[in-house]
């Protein structure tokens, strides 16, 4: 369980999610919602399929940040991640009638299959790779506590550089693990790979990422 990535507030009804979404529209803070249980997601999917727009918005709010975090790990810029997130979420919300529940994978796995396919389709002709001089993170240069912001920005940049150096398959798999918070079975279902293989790849990628990030964050690592 990834406790640090877990959101703070719970949304028990489509209405609560709708208010959260409207709050973002009106300029409030984008507070992530607690993820719903799979059974609740299944009910919301059924309601959304029946034309309930509140249910559709609940599905959107439940998955949009995960999709963004996952595709941001795969792609080379924030702008690309925004575009792919928009397209993927639209495809999800307009293709719910095609979704077939599976015993071995959660709804989120289906969402991420669409997100990965959207990213691949969009950048088929372009090499999906970050560069070591990738975009600087969107953090204020000066703020109430610059040290916190700078440290977060450095860690973000180190993560993006380390990700850029991974082979594409490993990058996609770790992005689904940590960005989308999927487990090995879900990732396997999303990519059509055996969960055992996913676990091996994850272990290898985690070691490589960790070593590289720590090297980058040392005083001589070029990130200070």
């Amino acid at each position: 369980m990834i406790t640090a990535a877990m959101p703070r507030r719970s949304a028990s009804s489509p209405l609560a999610s709708l208010f959260a979404a409207l709050s973002v529209h009106l300029g409030g803070e984008a507070e992530p919602l607690a993820p719903l249980e799979e059974a609740a997601i299944a009910r919301v999917v059924e309601q959304a399929r029946a034309g309930d727009t509140g249910a559709r918005e609940t599905l959107y709010v439940q998955h949009v940040d995960r999709v963004f975090r996952a595709v941001r790990g795969m792609l080379r810029s924030d702008a690309d991640a925004e575009d792919v997130t928009q397209d993927a979420m639209l495809t999800v919300l307009t293709s719910l009638h095609k979704y077939t529940p599976r015993a071995d994978a959660r709804f989120a796995a289906w969402v991420m299959t669409i997100a990965v396919n959207t990213a691949r389709r969009r950048f088929r002709r372009r090499r999906v790779q970050l560069t070591a001089t990738g975009e600087l993170p969107e953090i204020p240069a000066e703020g109430p506590d610059p040290a916190d912001g700078l440290d977060r920005g450095r860690r973000r940049r180190a993560l993006l550089i380390a990700l850029a150096e991974l082979p594409e398959r490993e990058r996609v798999i770790v992005s689904l693990r940590y960005g989308a918070e999927l487990n090995a079975s879900d990732i396997g279902a999303a990519l059509g790979i055996e969960p055992a293989t996913i676990r091996k790849v994850l272990e290898r990628a985690r070691t490589r990422l960790g070593t590289r990030i720590e090297a980058l964050l040392t005083p001589d690592g070029g990130m200070s």
């Binding site: 990834i2 984008a30 727009t53 925004e82 928009q86």
Partner: protein
């Protein structure tokens, strides 16, 4: 670096409020347009700009009424 530390680092890839707002605006606008029937679009146009709506309808009607005979005439002349 363990599983949890990497998960914490990954939270730095969370979209900013500005990014989320842009994504939300695009998705909701597209869904709203998809959900709105054509008749409702026309009614909305009448409410916002009644004269323009009447003008648009008049131009459309004239175009539809004249397109067929004009196409026939063009074929005959060629």
């Amino acid at each position: 670096m363990n599983d949890e530390e990497l998960a914490i680092d990954w939270t730095t890839l969370q979209p900013t409020v500005r990014q989320r707002r842009r994504i939300d605006a695009h998705v909701f606008a597209w869904l709203e347009a998809r959900d709105t029937p054509l008749a409702a679009e026309w009614l909305g146009l009448f409410r916002v700009a009644p004269f323009s709506a009447v003008g648009l309808i008049a131009v459309s009607a004239v175009a539809i009424a004249t397109a067929t005979p004009l196409a026939w005439l063009a074929r005959v002349l060629m």
